[in-house]
Symmetry: C2
Subunit: 592 residues, 2 copies
Amino acid sequence: MEVAVRVESSRRVAEAIFFLKSIGSQIMTVETSEHVALNVIEDKATCLRIDSVRSTTEAGSGHPTSCASAAEIMSVLFYSVMRYDPHDPHNRDSDVFVLSKGHAAPILYAAWAEAGAFPRERLLTLRKIDSDLEGHPTTLLPFVDVATGSLGQGLSVGVGMATHAKQFDHSDQRIFVLMGDGESAEGSIWEAAQWASLHKLSNLCAVIDINRLGQSQPTTLQWELEIYKARWEAFGWQALLVDGHSIPDLLGAFEAAARVIDRPTIVLARTLKGKGLIGIEGLEGWHGKALDKPTAAKVIAELESQLSGADEDWKPHLPVTLRSSSQTTAKSDTSSGENPPYVIGGEEVATRKGFADGLAALANTDPRVVVLDGDVMNSTYTEEFKKAAPDRFLEGYIAEQNIIGMAMGLAVRGKVPFASLFSCFVTRAYDFIRLAAISQLNLKIVGTHCGVSIGEDGPTQMGLEDLAMSCAQPDFTVLYPADATSAWKATVIIAEKSGPCYLRLGRPKSAILYDPGEQFAIGKCKVLRKSGKDSALVVAGGVTVFEALAAYDRLQRDGIAIRVIDLFSVQPIDRDELIASAHAANGYCDHR
Amino acid sequence: MEVAVRVESSRRVAEAIFFLKSIGSQIMTVETSEHVALNVIEDKATCLRIDSVRSTTEAGSGHPTSCASAAEIMSVLFYSVMRYDPHDPHNRDSDVFVLSKGHAAPILYAAWAEAGAFPRERLLTLRKIDSDLEGHPTTLLPFVDVATGSLGQGLSVGVGMATHAKQFDHSDQRIFVLMGDGESAEGSIWEAAQWASLHKLSNLCAVIDINRLGQSQPTTLQWELEIYKARWEAFGWQALLVDGHSIPDLLGAFEAAARVIDRPTIVLARTLKGKGLIGIEGLEGWHGKALDKPTAAKVIAELESQLSGADEDWKPHLPVTLRSSSQTTAKSDTSSGENPPYVIGGEEVATRKGFADGLAALANTDPRVVVLDGDVMNSTYTEEFKKAAPDRFLEGYIAEQNIIGMAMGLAVRGKVPFASLFSCFVTRAYDFIRLAAISQLNLKIVGTHCGVSIGEDGPTQMGLEDLAMSCAQPDFTVLYPADATSAWKATVIIAEKSGPCYLRLGRPKSAILYDPGEQFAIGKCKVLRKSGKDSALVVAGGVTVFEALAAYDRLQRDGIAIRVIDLFSVQPIDRDELIASAHAANGYCDHR
């Protein structure tokens, strides 16, 4: 059978092709009836350049040349390709744009203003201390899902979002990620590339703005587009070379991206840094520099002269379907009903096992929970969750940065991702964790095999800096349970707590300290031993709680009483109880 | 001109080809007269398997199957290809082997024992608490240059070493790195791959032991060797597919690696996990598991039956040249003569500028100093060093993990590498920094643009966790100078201090606090304001010193005296002065 296809929305093309192919058809031609006049897109690109220059010059700093190279890419995406509602950017059916090259923030802000999200005048508040239009995008802005500006993170976030749309929300949402060429040297890019092609994320389309110039010099590959192409194709992507300032080229590439059904697409766009900024185009030494006012005036006048004055009656292309909620998965309300099965005086159980059992229980009660593994599921026991909810278990392999980046993308879309790793390897993704914290994303990082108690595997396998790492981040909840019961409860607690959390877990089996019904809370410790005549306070966490209890027993025999606390919540810390206990143990010194 | 070449050492082949090509010759045939009998190499591979099983079974833990897949690779490298002195592994002319897949430690130990570095009996101390044969290799062992076991780091370390041999030591040393297939999912691999091909490191040869199985499941690419090949070739490497258990195949590949002169080589070795371990070969579920004693006995008996009993009179192939010292560059003794040029009351200068000026001064006085940049040299001012010593300036582009990994490799070879980055992006390489600290390598990490004082670039560009990160590492020196003079001095101090150091620097210009002749020391603070009636002690660092001094002035007007300390050395901290000052300011509480 041969079919000539004509569909109203380019959005439906890939779907139609897929269906027709599945019934044995051969696709001959594909056309769509949607288009925006080219000169409208061109004018909008020029406006984006003008706004980028104007706002950075007003601020006296910023990256106008990194914006200018991307003007046509942004214009084509925002005013022709993407389907979204500028007034409801989180809508689950809207296409998503991630500006991985976060230093091009001014053109991101200009694009949303031009789309009607907020008044253009506000662009002139860029980089002011009381403005949410910061030097690099943050989630203070409704249209920014994750903070960017540490390069090489946006693609992994996009992979998480694309996975959500394809695997969990079954939406035809498309995810676009704009990267710089300098940032494509970051290894995390290739972790994301690998995962995206393995999972055939055809709803993901990334663009590299190949303007040849980094901050301080030309990039490694400069304009060697064929090498870029060979690399991305070797990683399983559809790779398309385009002139990044040609609107028809870009439109064609995004059309081709929408039609491929078995792989993600990378658009390799050859551009000029500072394109359109007269006297600055393609020059070195102009990264991260605002134009002075006379230069800006000249540049803007030249840009304004290029405007065609085309009919500006542009309207956003809304998604075909528009479902109301951006929260795609509701939590069931049954999650707190269950209790862990461990018994005081019973078998010893590792805290990692307590976590995994709690997580497996959540598999049934909280459909928001998704687990990401770094090829350690048989040591962290998250294989139990995989058995219970295989569709919500994502194997991230040995690529921790991409795992955390995907978790960031999933968190943005309303999932509660648990990224489960050996604690020592959490260090690999610290820069991602930093941006997750700045964005206050609802992701959960679980580090097992912490501390020296892992023993004979040696120091490279010991997670010793994980507490310093996580506690140094703003508003990060950090729990360190001592036994399997509290680990089970901590798992449920962090699933319910909104915001970034870190759960620290040990490898060895240990005794059960708490009854199944014991209540735990963030910010609350447990006083395990106390008397009216305590002469010292010992605050312990995890495996050290058992050492503290052993010390208590030993000292008891000599008639010395000490107070022993199981800290449980490292951040926030139980300040009141600690001060009160220290007072009681005669050890608190208050100079106020 | 046409030449038939016959040379005595395969080591000289690439050199001869290079020379002959440079005079316009065409190379027709290349032969070498060196060889080891195949059955000797085969027997040694079998012995390595036996020792790996024996030691892990004795320990009751470890990774025998990950050793077994690599037995022929190790045997060919250690007993035919590499030129080294087992009793002087650090010799600058010895070939270098980096076991990036650190969990295969037992076969590394077996290989060195078999080569004569230590008695084979000691292998049975594997993983014992008082043995230096730890579960993953550490630098306690003379033949281990860097600790490994966090996957995906060895290649960058090898890149640093290969760069040293090629660019600084002009030696014909070759660097071999053995990776696992699971670890090749780490993005850092591709950062290293990119740099190595850009710099045509033909003295670098990496091997991937493609045994198809990760820890908890098959790897992403399993045995899709053509995809591996396409990726590595796209990254500019010579990629060779071999049967990893065929000794002739492996010999041929290493020969081909030695002959290529314009690129590094990757040997993609298809192997079987657990190869030769009867009943376990190629099975899932056997990662990181020791065989029980009866199984081990059966496996060892089978292996022993395969020994040909070939003449065991094997001798190590020593390097052609053998220079005595492993310290390849001596420090000049003139570095401390100079002082910084800044004047109290003179122009304001940023601490990053003080660092860069100090570094540029070191360019002339300390030939060990090498600078690595992450495309920020125009903001960190390390471009000054580049001008002074262009051959010792390495541009690492936006790939922080590889930058720190290369610095590790350079430090091993006696250089004093300064890796200079924005402090916020140091987070990207935290796992590498962790292993550098465990290895106590002599590398210097410099983080500029720290703290909120960078201002309008926004929170993603603010390095706020760098102190927590660096101070959480063992024996890491951490300095945080307040003015350009102390930053200049701190730079010289850490260049002279052996071991890992972190230098924290700010972006804004600030006043000069210290005379050029002021002396600074690790572990020593500066008391800037004191009196006999101080009612508070303010300890400040970096930009906050100026705020503390302003507070001092303000309080002086109200007749309140405070003591102000510029901490300078964050780790180690000046415990004695802080306690004494706290006492003097009536604020120290000692319950001892």
